[in-house]
C-alpha cells in the first residue's frame, strides 16, 4: 500500500507509525461502502502502562494531523499542540500513552482520496467514498483494537477533534473513561456549512483541480486550496484579535499602493498563512474532511434527541468553549452540556475568556490548561492512575 505516495505522505510515514487494517474485516462506512484494506498513520508519545489504563487519544481538527508535539516532517514547524502535550504539560508523556491518528480521508499517511482503489488499482480521487466523523472514529477504534488497547483514559480534541470526541463517547461509551470536547458542536451549523462550501467551491473552481484528477494531469489546485484556507482562517480568528494584531496597518509601505498587492498587513498575513499549507495539505482531502464535518449531526443519529446519544453514560466529560469563538460559539457547546445533564452525565463546563477566537484552543491559554489539569487529575484519581 506504500506505492504512489505524495512527497508529504512519504515524509510523514517516515516519521510516524502506521497500521494496515481492514484486510479481513473491511470498515463499513456510513455511506454503505466497505473500505479495506486501509492504512492508518499515527504517532504516539509516552508508554502504555502495565494495566493498559493510561492511553489518551487526541483527535485532530480539520487540517491537523498526527504530529502533535514534534517538528512537522513537511513544514518543519513545531507540533500543533505542543502547548498541551509534552514534559510538564497537561498531557505529559511521562504519565500518559498519547496517541494521535491522521483521520480517515486525510493526507498525512492515512487512507484518503490520494490512495488507490484496491478494486481498480486507480487513484480514488473523487471516487473515494464520502466519509463521516463516525467513520473516522471507527477507524480509530480499529487502530486501538490493533494496538490491544481496550479502553481509553481520555479522548480529547478541539473543533472537528471535539466532534470525534463526542462520537467516541456516543458510539463507544464503555471505551472512554473521560472525554474532553473543546470548542465544538454536536452538529455543524448552517453558517459553518456555508463557509465550507465557499472553500470547496474555491478548490473546484481552480482549473488545475481537473475534476479531482489533478495528480493524473500533473497539476495542483494550489490557488483554490489557498483561497479555501484563507477563507477558513478568518473564521478561526475574531474581529477583536484581527483588529488588535493588524488594525489597518500597511505592509512594508507608508502609503496605499493604489493596486492589488498586499497593502495591508492582514492581507500579507493571510497570504503567508497559506504558503506552507498548500505544501502539506491535499485539495481533495480538504473536500472530504469538510464534508465529514458538514454531515455531523449527533442528535440526528439518535432519534433527534442529543441526550439519547449519551444515555446511561459513565464517561466523565469536560466541555470547554471560548468567549470570542464565533465558529463554535458557547451556546453550541452549552447545548452539548445540556444534553449531558439531561442524561445525568458527569460533566464540567467552562467558558474561557479570550479574544483569540476559535483558534484559542490551540494557543497558550493558561485558564484552559488549569481547567484541564484539574479535570484530568480528578479523573486520574477516579481511575486509580498514579
Amino acid at each position: 500500500m506504500l506505492e504512489d505516495l505524495t512527497d508529504a505522505e512519504r515524509k510523514a510515514l517516515a516519521q510516524c507509525r502506521h497500521a494496515v487494517l481492514g484486510a479481513d474485516h473491511p470498515l463499513r462506512l456510513d455511506c454503505g461502502v466497505d473500505l479495506g484494506p486501509y492504512r492508518v498513520a499515527y504517532q504516539t508519545y509516552g508508554a502504555l502502562n502495565a494495566a493498559r489504563s493510561n492511553a489518551v487519544l487526541i483527535c485532530h481538527a480539520l487540517t491537523g494531523d498526527q504530529f502533535v508535539a514534534e517538528q512537522h516532517p513537511v513544514t518543519g514547524k513545531e507540533g500543533w499542540w505542543e502547548s498541551m502535550v509534552g514534559p510538564g504539560r497537561v498531557l505529559d508523556p511521562a504519565r500518559y500513552f498519547i496517541i494521535c491518528a491522521n483521520v480517515l480521508g486525510g493526507c498525512m499517511g492515512t487512507t484518503g482520496p490520494l490512495a488507490r482503489d484496491p478494486a481498480t488499482g486507480h487513484p480514488w480521487n473523487l471516487r473515494f467514498p464520502v466519509v463521516t466523523i463516525a467513520d473516522m472514529v471507527r477507524a480509530q477504534a480499529a487502530l486501538l483494537d490493533h494496538l490491544g488497547i481496550a479502553d481509553l483514559f481520555c479522548v480529547i480534541g478541539g473543533s472537528m477533534g471535539g466532534m470525534q470526541v463526542l462520537e467516541w463517547a456516543a458510539s463507544y461509551p464503555g471505551r472512554v473513561f473521560a472525554a474532553v470536547p473543546i470548542a465544538c458542536s454536536a452538529r455543524h451549523s448552517a453558517q459553518n456549512i456555508a463557509f465550507h462550501e465557499v472553500g470547496r467551491q474555491a478548490i473546484m473552481a481552480d482549473p488545475a483541480w481537473q475534476g479531482g484528477d489533478y495528480r493524473l494531469h500533473g497539476t495542483a489546485p494550489e490557488r483554490g486550496l489557498a483561497v479555501a484556507r484563507m477563507n477558513a482562517h478568518i473564521t478561526y480568528l475574531s474581529q477583536a484579535a484581527l483588529q488588535r494584531k493588524f488594525g489597518r496597518n500597511l505592509q512594508d509601505r507608508s502609503a496605499l499602493g493604489f493596486g492589488f498587492d498586499a497593502d495591508f498587513q492582514v492581507e500579507s498575513y493571510l497570504r503567508h498563512q497559506v504558503s506552507t499549507f498548500v505544501d502539506r495539505f491535499d485539495a481533495n482531502s480538504y473536500l472530504y474532511i469538510t464534508r465529514a464535518m458538514d454531515y455531523f449531526d449527533l442528535a440526528d443519529a439518535h432519534g433527534g434527541v442529543l441526550a439519547s446519544a449519551f444515555k446511561g453514560t459513565q464517561t466523565r466529560f469536560c466541555s470547554i468553549s471560548f468567549t470570542s469563538d464565533w465558529l463554535f460559539p458557547t451556546p453550541e457547546n452549552r447545548a452539548i452540556v445540556h444534553a449531558l445533564n439531561a442524561a445525568a452525565a458527569n460533566v464540567s463546563f467552562v467558558e474561557i475568556e479570550s479574544d483569540k477566537g476559535h483558534d484559542a484552543f490551540l494557543l497558550d491559554e493558561p485558564e484552559m490548561f488549569r481547567t484541564l489539569s484539574g479535570f484530568l487529575q480528578g479523573a486520574a484519581s477516579a481511575r486509580g492512575l498514579s
Binding site: 445533564n341 458527569n346 460533566v347 464540567s348 463546563f349 467558558e351 474561557i352 485558564e367 479535570f375 480528578g378
Partner: protein, 203 residues
C-alpha cells in the same frame, strides 16, 4: 486526607444532612467548598452549578464536576430523580422564580436542601418598622439598590410555601447569628432565627 478541612458552619450543617455515598447537585456551589467536602469525606458523587465563571473555573481546576449555569434556567435539563439531594445554599432569595426552582429541585432530587436568610428576624422587623429603612443585617448586608436578593422571605413564609406546594418538611434547622443551630418553638424561631436550613421531600 484523613482530617476534614473545616467548612462554613452552615455548609457543615447541610453536609451532615447528606447520607454518604449518594448523588448530590449543589446549585450555586461558589468556590466548591461544600462539593469538595461531600466528595472527599462523604464519598458523594457530587456535581455543581455556579453562575460566576471564575467560580466554575476554580472548581473544575480543583477536579470538581461543575458547570456554568443558574437555578432558574438550567435545572430543567436534568431528568427526574437524577440526584438524591439537590442543594441550594443562600441562593433561593436571589432566583427569579423561587417556587419553580423549588419544584425543579424536588423533581430532579429525591430531597431538596435549602438554606436562606430569615426576613422575619427581629432586627429586620425593627429596622423597617422603627428605622423606616430597608433592613441591612449581617445576613443581608446589601443596600436596597444593589442587592441580589429579589425574593426574600421569612421562615414562616417558606413553611407556607411548602404547605402550598404539598412539600414535606423533613427537617428544619434555625440558626443564630454565628450559624449555630438554636432550638426554638416555630413562632419564636421566625423572630430569633437569622437563617434557616430546610430539608424537603415530595409528598
Amino acid at each position: 486526607m484523613s482530617v476534614a478541612a473545616p467548612i462554613r458552619v452552615d455548609l457543615q450543617l447541610i453536609a451532615d444532612m447528606v447520607e454518604p455515598g449518594g448523588r448530590a447537585l449543589d446549585v450555586g456551589c461558589g468556590d466548591g467548598a461544600l462539593l469538595a467536602y461531600l466528595v472527599n469525606f462523604k464519598r458523594v458523587d457530587a456535581r455543581g452549578m455556579e453562575l460566576s465563571q471564575a467560580g466554575v473555573n476554580a472548581c473544575v481546576a480543583n477536579g470538581l464536576s461543575v458547570i456554568q449555569g443558574d437555578a432558574d434556567a438550567d435545572l430543567r435539563d436534568y431528568p427526574d430523580d437524577a440526584f438524591d439531594y439537590v442543594i441550594l445554599s443562600q441562593t433561593l432569595q436571589a432566583t427569579r422564580e423561587p417556587r419553580e426552582v423549588l419544584r425543579q429541585m424536588l423533581r430532579v432530587g429525591k430531597h431538596a436542601i435549602v438554606s436562606f436568610p430569615n426576613f422575619g428576624h427581629w432586627q429586620v422587623r425593627l429596622r423597617l418598622a422603627f428605622g423606616g429603612r430597608m433592613p441591612e443585617t449581617p445576613s443581608l448586608p446589601y443596600k436596597w439598590y444593589d442587592t441580589p436578593n429579589i425574593h426574600l422571605c421569612s421562615i414562616d413564609d417558606f413553611r407556607a410555601l411548602c404547605r402550598d406546594m404539598g412539600v414535606r418538611v423533613e427537617r428544619a434547622i434555625v440558626l443564630d447569628r454565628n450559624s449555630r443551630p438554636i432550638n426554638l418553638p416555630p413562632f419564636v424561631a421566625n423572630l430569633l432565627g437569622e437563617q434557616a436550613v430546610f430539608m424537603l421531600k415530595r409528598e
